[in-house]
Symmetry: C2
């Protein structure tokens, strides 16, 4: 059975990575990675679906045991990606998507080198600003900051394997599917199995 692959999707807020992930998840061929957090559940958030909710002690224990693919502290709360459920899905042949910012993505790559990093880009900075303004949730100063962060991140894009320019959503989703399919045609992970299969057949 083919091994699942871990796809890590990053990109500036406003690039549309969330929408692309939702589209990819629709046909059930991929699983979304669920984060662990020390913050309290909000509204209708469900344990194991939106997050794994844990105490600060449990979170620290998981870090100490090397049980997180990445983690960060944001405004006093910790967020991380538990390794075990991801590996379980991959071993069951399921592809997993993890949507995370660049720092987290690079931690994941360090802890699981087989992961495939994809960066979603808006077609231009002016388009990114337009989308953020249209969203209306941020001040002009915050939007300036996001634009600057985007430039800084794009300079580090070489750490990624693929980028998708999200000009048209359907094209971007197709690009993501193309990447996922192509990765399953790569030799690296499957050479051993092929050699074995052909040798078993012998002549």
């Amino acid at each position: 059975m083919r091994q699942g692959r871990l796809f890590v999707i990053s990109g500036p807020s406003g690039a549309g990575k969330g929408t692309i992930c939702s589209e990819l998840l629709k046909d059930g061929s991929l699983a979304l990675s669920v984060s662990m957090t020390t913050r309290a559940p909000r509204g209708k958030e469900v344990e194991g679906v939106n997050y794994y909710f844990v105490s600060r002690e449990e979170f620290q224990k998981t870090i100490d045991e090397g049980g997180l693919l990445e983690w960060a502290e944001i405004y006093g709360n910790r967020y991380g990606t538990p390794k075990a459920p991801v590996l379980e899905k991959l071993n069951a042949g399921k592809d997993v998507i993890l949507e995370i910012e660049m720092q987290g993505a690079l931690q994941v790559k360090a802890n699981y080198p087989k992961s495939i990093l994809i960066f979603v880009l808006p077609p231009s900075l002016s388009e990114l600003r337009k989308r953020l303004i249209a969203r209306g949730t941020e001040t002009a100063a915050q939007i300036d900051m996001r634009t600057r962060t985007t430039i800084d991140e794009i300079k580090k894009i070489k750490d990624y394997s693929y980028f998708i320019v999200n000009d048209d959503l359907q094209t971007a989703v197709n690009d993501a599917r193309t990447i996922i399919n192509a990765e399953h045609l790569r030799v690296e992970d499957q050479a051993e199995a092929i050699i074995e299969k052909y040798e078993r057949e012998g002549i």
Copy 2:
């Protein structure tokens, strides 16, 4: 404008790589690499279409000038892949396909590291034998030899980037298209251009 990529397709005789290449070439989005040879033209072969026909002196001069991506001598005739026309097409944004056996493919990779090596496999050795027998052009001993060569080649498949199992032609052609499209989404070659584009826009 996007840069073309060089796709090198290898695989045992009977794996169907020729058919896959013909299918890929149909829509005109790819160009086939034309070989240079010292052998005389046969039948309706056309200069610059089937081969570039040259004298042994010209061939040697091209080797000496580093003008071949790969070459080999077969039954006293030399065959090689001229670099200039390939690079010209790539620079014009055209993808190029080169169908060649493994030794040649590895020479191409050494001389043009950006090339992408794809190995086409038959679904099984017994299927490969069946196809070769059905073709009826080879003796039983020749077929045995081909099967042994295939096993030896598959052991070296790790030098390749992708493999395609040709069980169903249409699936195999789609796999090849997926690989070609995904390679154009890779960061490596295009990171510089993207960084430049975004920096030019500035803020």
